[in-house]
Symmetry: C2
DNA sequence: ATAAACTGCAACCAAATGGTTGTATCAGAG
DNA sequence: CTCTGATACAACCATTTGGTTGCAGTTTAT
């Protein structure tokens, strides 16, 4: 189980960070190329401080990292975190498959349902 | 592009709905088997109304559907919505790949960068 | 017909979110 | 050294969120 690295709190932060269009856009841009905070701020119709807060949220969720370069902080998207989110969603798929399996078993049996677990 | 069905608002709701441990658990349970709202409420250490609100959030995000059965409302997880979330994350992966491609091009060239697009 | 179980919804509350402005720090340019 | 650009951070504010209690409406059971 590769996902056990993540606490429930971590998962909360991860999905919450993705639940904002500006932040998703920042992640997209910084996955393609490193961008400074002020470059990002120029792109959105809000204050520098607001963009900075979004970056901070993404950083706490570890969806981006920051690296000092002179007086700028370059923001870089962290693909590994995206992959962790994907793995979490994969688990939901597996659960769903288990429902199908249970149905199959029921259909294949003419005995009463087996003791649970 | 299969994801264009989703507005930014839809995506916000989708990820926000997933950003709560109780709601994720409800989705997991209702993906495996249909469960009534009161059965769900029994499982968590909060009021019935609180659980009902969580279900409502999931319903708005279309992560679950409800179906009347007698006096109960059976909650059923909607895998398709999970898959849409996965596709959204896949797009992030593709963007990241484009970064690599760009690097490859730069390394392979000794001419100045080609006109973009 | 009554009572009990299941649900929906409104009103309320504390805390978190997403934005603002203002001030301070820090690195680079003149 | 001084000015400017880039960032950080605090204080503040409106709205949303996640919880509560209370009440009303339906469906089932007695």
């Amino acid at each position: 189980m590769v996902v056990s690295e993540l606490s429930e709190q971590d998962v909360n932060r991860l999905f919450r960070a993705l639940a904002d269009a500006t932040r998703r856009d920042i992640v997209r841009r910084t996955l393609v190329t490193d961008v400074s905070v002020s470059q990002l701020a120029d792109s959105y119709d809000m204050s520098f401080a607001a963009v900075q807060k979004h970056v901070a949220v993404l950083e706490e969720a570890r969806l981006v990292t920051k690296e000092s370069r002179g007086r700028e902080r370059m923001v870089r998207g962290n693909l590994e975190r995206i992959r962790q989110a994907q793995r979490l969603l994969d688990h939901f798929e597996e659960l769903w498959r288990s429902r199908i399996d249970r149905l199959d078993i029921l259909l294949a049996e003419d005995e009463p349902a087996p003791p649970d677990t």
